[in-house]
């Protein structure tokens, strides 16, 4: 199966029903995307398909064929996406396990709504859990990246 991952053409041998997360982590070695719950309940595995945020733990890889897959490794060439900069400047992560998913969801939000309200931020990130409770800093970083 041919995939477009972070702008690179990749070919994998995988069952079409294999979760995309398995392909990314186990077959392609892209371990920045995390496994959290495996049931689309925590958001740790969020990646982009053609710019839309999806939970890769429940997305069959067949759905990704022909689409542009972007993971946290491919969000920006040097890891300097405005969200990543804001994350570092505000010291958002605590344990950090959920942050890749948080940032990928926030990036999808900013792409659709460059100047989001707090309500929009809360609604779009409602599916990304942080067990360290850094939600206040997450929202602040999204606002900082958006310049609002």
């Amino acid at each position: 199966m041919k995939l477009d991952v972070n702008g690179q053409a990749r070919e994998v041998e995988a069952d079409p029903e294999m979760p995309l997360l398995w392909v990314l982590r186990d077959l392609l070695g892209l371990t920045g995307t995390k496994y959290g719950c495996g049931e689309a309940l925590c958001g740790a595995c969020t990646v982009h398909l053609d710019g839309n945020a999806v939970r890769s733990c429940v997305t069959p890889v067949r759905r990704a064929a022909g689409k542009k897959i972007v993971t946290i490794e491919g969000l920006s060439p040097r890891g300097d996406h405005p969200l990543q900069q804001a994350w570092a400047e505000l010291g958002v992560p605590q344990c950090g396990f959920c942050q890749a998913g948080q940032i990928m969801s926030a990036a999808a939000l900013l792409a659709a709504s460059p100047k989001p309200t707090d309500e929009e931020i809360d609604r779009s990130l409602a599916g990304n859990l942080c067990r360290c409770g850094t939600y206040v800093r997450i929202r602040a970083a999204v606002r900082k990246a958006a310049g609002v």
């Binding site: 969020t46 429940v58 759905r63 990928m104 999808a108 939000l109 659709a112 609604r123 779009s124 599916g127």
Partner: protein, 221 residues
């Protein structure tokens, strides 16, 4: 009066009496039954033929809709027809977890779109339900918390049914893949009674009998 003439007069009198008084009364004709048929089993739907004896046709039409509404009022249907911005889940209509919202096109918001998690089919390993184009019904088509009479009124009103004809609604109920998911919801979820084909037949029979809505709310088991 000569005998032949007398017989003629008697015959004419009898013929006149018969013509004026109509046919001789026979045994009283049994009235056509109008009582509804016995209820179907909880997981079954009665076919349209079960309602054929109900008179008048308006009462038959109402009975047909009441039977169809056993599906329309089921949790698998109303959970995605909420009156607010929150889809529901489970037979108790709990708020969706994680807290998804309707969004401007009934398909969620950025990063929390319906399709962020729901696929084109159920995922047994993750218990996530799925069907093609998973989304909420528009808010003007809200069914959750409403009676079958209220739902019927909505379905019959183009302003509240997406400007659809009844034939288009029948096609949606009978053929739409997301509607059909209700009978194969996966992971131990309860299914509405009958089948999608049977629902389509009931709804068509309701249309064919005048599409008369229930006058009020009937008791539900």
């Amino acid at each position: 009066m000569r005998p032949r003439l007398a017989r003629l007069v008697r015959f004419a009198s009898l013929a006149l009496f018969t013509a004026c008084s109509g046919p001789a009364p026979g045994p009283a004709a049994a009235p056509r039954p109008s009582a509804p048929p016995a209820p179907a089993a909880p997981d079954k739907l009665l076919p349209p033929s079960a309602f054929a004896s109900i008179e008048p046709p308006a009462a038959r039409s109402q009975a047909l809709f009441a039977e169809a509404s056993r599906v329309l009022l089921h949790a698998r249907c109303v959970n995605c027809h909420p009156p607010d911005d929150s889809p529901r889940q489970g037979d108790a209509h709990a708020f969706h977890d994680p807290p998804a919202v309707r969004g401007p096109a009934d398909r969620g918001v950025p990063a929390m779109q319906c399709g962020s998690c729901h696929q084109d089919q159920n995922l047994p390993y993750a218990r996530v339900p799925g069907a093609p184009d998973w989304h909420l019904a528009p808010v003007e088509m809200a069914w959750l918390g409403r009676s079958s009479a209220q739902i019927c009124a909505q379905l019959s009103d183009p302003r509240r049914n997406g400007q659809k004809t009844l034939a288009q609604i029948q096609h949606h109920l009978a053929h739409d893949a997301l509607v059909g998911w209700g009978w194969g919801p996966g992971h131990g979820r309860s299914a509405p009674p009958g089948s999608q084909v049977e629902l389509g037949a009931l709804f068509q029979a309701w249309i064919d009998t005048g599409a008369v809505c229930p006058a009020g709310e009937e008791k539900r088991p």
